[in-house]
């Protein structure tokens, strides 16, 4: 009989696993360090506070916040339906909702364009109501919501499944109507999962590029978000691009720490 390694949980790792693992870590760390090394520190503040930079940053924060709110308003009910209802076609619905996770953003942008663009399915009726979506700030929010929604749905659905239905059964047996059970029991129970989903959705919205460019274009102050600004500056002013990139890196790092700092609040399993 082999003796189990002492003090370790489970069996010991074979040593060779550490080599590719280290390479994987370096793959992420080296480029990040490279960005930091490349930053023009003396001019950093000036670069990130230029008119176009501030406009882009402000637009990014506004649109990412709006799309995160939209994700919560739409995604929580979607997650509830996916985790708790027994509608027919639930598997297909889940697959469709999660599609933007694996779709190239530019494809998502095209799809949105053909939905709400001038020539799109909903374009003419919206136009008749005096609403234009494509190439407006609303289109930015739409694109960000499209790509971020699955992050929120996955997080909340996973939290709902982990929480189980036993608390809800008890609450109902105590006389709580379904809405009361939802608001007073279910949602408080999945709050950590919801928080994780919000953080991920916000981060994904903040970094959105492809879908935004396709359906909203790149108009300064209107649709040119921070990632678009960075891409544009890369041609003309690489120092500004790098400085702004660092801003996004810092925001992303804060977000990641925010998610993993919470216990058990990672994105749930499907």
């Amino acid at each position: 009989m082999r003796s189990a390694p002492r003090g370790a949980e489970g069996s010991a790792l074979p040593r060779w696993v550490f080599a590719p693992a280290a390479l994987g870590a370096l793959l992420v760390v080296v480029p990040l360090v490279a960005v930091v090394l490349r930053v023009d520190w003396p001019d950093f503040v000036a670069l990130v506070t230029s008119e176009s930079s501030v406009a882009a940053l402000r637009l990014s924060l506004r649109t990412a916040t709006a799309s995160t709110v939209a994700c919560v308003v739409l995604g929580v009910p979607l997650a509830l339906v996916l985790a708790r209802s027994s509608l027919p076609g639930l598997r297909a619905l889940r697959a469709v909702v999660l599609l933007p996770l694996v779709l190239p953003p530019v494809v998502g942008g095209l799809a949105l364009l053909y939905a709400v663009g001038r020539q799109g399915v909903l374009g003419p009726p919206l136009e008749a109501l005096g609403i234009r979506v494509a190439f407006t700030t609303a289109a930015v929010v739409l694109a960000q919501t499209f790509v971020s929604l699955p992050f929120l749905v996955v997080s909340v659905e996973g939290a709902l499944r982990t929480a189980g239905r036993r608390y809800e059964a008890v609450a109902a047996s105590l006389g709580a109507a379904p809405s009361r059970v939802l608001l007073r029991v279910t949602l408080p129970l999945v709050l950590p999962g919801l928080a994780a989903g919000v953080v991920l959705a916000f981060a994904r919205s903040l970094g959105e590029f492809g879908a935004t460019l396709t359906v909203a274009g790149s108009l300064q102050g209107v649709t040119r978000t921070l990632p678009l600004e960075i891409y544009l500056q890369r041609e003309t002013d690489p120092d500004a691009a790098v400085a702004l990139s660092l801003v996004l890196v810092v925001v992303a790092a804060v977000v990641v720490v925010g998610v993993h700092g919470r216990r058990g609040a990672g994105p749930g399993t499907r």
């Binding site: 047996s173 129970l189 709050l191």
Partner: protein
């Protein structure tokens, strides 16, 4: 006195093969025993409205909760509070807010709900915990709070799903006492108690239903079913020796006149209906009268010997009372004592190995208080 809680249910759930009829007089407590997979949980889920029955009907106090015409009353309109194995206190609410949850759901004002909650916290001896969070109380305390929460919802019928099974041995008696007090005190409360524990059924229930494979295998008064099991499961769950009779000052007198010395529960005064239980492993078997001072020393005749793992289970009949007693002995003692069916033997059981429990209504507790927290 007829309170609420009269139940008349034909429970049918085809996917799990449940076909069981259950009746409950107002104020009655019915224990549901049975092996795993026998349909106990399904039965409770149907009563609670968590499952939609595939047939039959459920009538509580004359109101059809589920019926053939497709009528189905939602769980929150049934008045059937659930108490599960785990307390399932809402983790984001204080203990007091948990207990007030039912009243608030029924539309009571904050103040009225708090008063109701405080009453039940007092009854269950958990007043000191009112402002704690559920994660700050022990398992036994949490379950007592869960009892308070269920009762504060003023249910017509309490549904208890193995309420003591998840508690450690130290915490279970206190919760059992609280349950006994609220179920069997005044006013009496109707309840269906799913359990696999003989003690729970004895302490809390008037009648017992034994489920096996989704059917009612036997039904009757608790002591009757357990002392004269007619189903395989009834016999197995009565793995203890159980003798019914009347409590005496230091134990119990059986209907056949045999006296047992044992540890009598506080709520089982002399003269009340009671049962004595002990493990077959606690019975020593002698060929000759061992003499000495053991207080439980009976003459008996061996009826049957059956191997049971490393041991031999001996079934003997006391003389002259005729009560049946089981004893587990080693195979070598069977050989040493030369035991065969019909052999006369002497059985000895330590008084400390015999438990005497009340059956039926509890006597009022002295002082009438709910007891303090631990």
């Amino acid at each position: 006195m007829t309170g609420p809680g009269g139940l008349d249910a034909q429970l049918r759930f085809a996917p799990r093969g449940l076909v069981a009829d259950v009746h409950l007089a107002p104020g009655e407590v019915l224990a549901v025993l049975g092996p795993n997979g026998s349909g106990k949980s399904t039965l409770l889920s149907l009563l609670a409205g968590l499952l939609r029955p595939t047939g039959g009907r459920i009538v509580l106090d004359g109101e059809v909760l589920a019926g053939e015409d497709g009528r189905f009353v939602a769980p929150h309109r049934r008045g059937t509070a659930l108490l599960a194995q785990d307390a399932l206190l809402f983790p984001h609410l204080s203990v007091e807010a948990n207990v007030a949850f039912g009243s608030r759901s029924a539309g009571a004002s904050r103040r009225a709900a708090r008063d109701v909650a405080r009453h039940w916290l007092d009854v269950t001896g958990t007043t000191d915990l009112a402002h704690r969070r559920p994660h700050e109380v022990s398992g036994g305390q949490a379950q007592r709070v869960a009892v308070a929460r269920a009762l504060a919802a003023d249910p017509r019928l309490l549904l208890l799903d193995e309420p003591l099974a998840a508690l450690d041995v130290g915490a279970a008696p206190e919760v059992r006492r609280v349950l006994r007090q609220v179920l069997r005190g005044t006013p009496r409360r109707s309840a269906v108690l799913v359990t696999h524990d003989l003690l729970d059924a004895l302490a809390l229930a008037d009648r017992v239903v034994v489920l096996d494979g989704g059917r009612v295998a036997e039904e009757g008064a608790v002591a009757d079913v357990l002392s004269r099991p007619r189903s395989a499961f009834g016999a197995r769950i009565a793995g203890l020796v159980l003798l019914a009779g009347t409590a005496t000052a230091d134990g119990l007198r059986t209907g056949g006149g045999t006296l047992l010395a044992g540890l009598r529960d506080d709520d089982c005064p002399p003269g009340s209906a009671a049962v004595a239980t002990f493990s077959p492993a606690a019975v020593a078997v002698h060929r000759d009268d061992p003499g000495g001072s053991p207080r439980n020393r009976w003459a008996a005749a061996v009826d049957e010997l059956a191997p049971r793992g490393d041991l031999v289970r001996l079934r003997a009949r006391l003389r002259p009372g005729g009560e049946e007693v089981l004893a587990d002995v080693t195979a070598s003692s069977v050989a040493d004592l030369d035991l065969v069916p019909g052999s006369p033997v002497h059985l000895v059981v330590k008084a400390t190995a015999v438990a005497v429990h009340a059956v039926g209504r509890p006597a009022p507790r002295a002082g009438g208080g709910a007891g303090g927290t631990r």
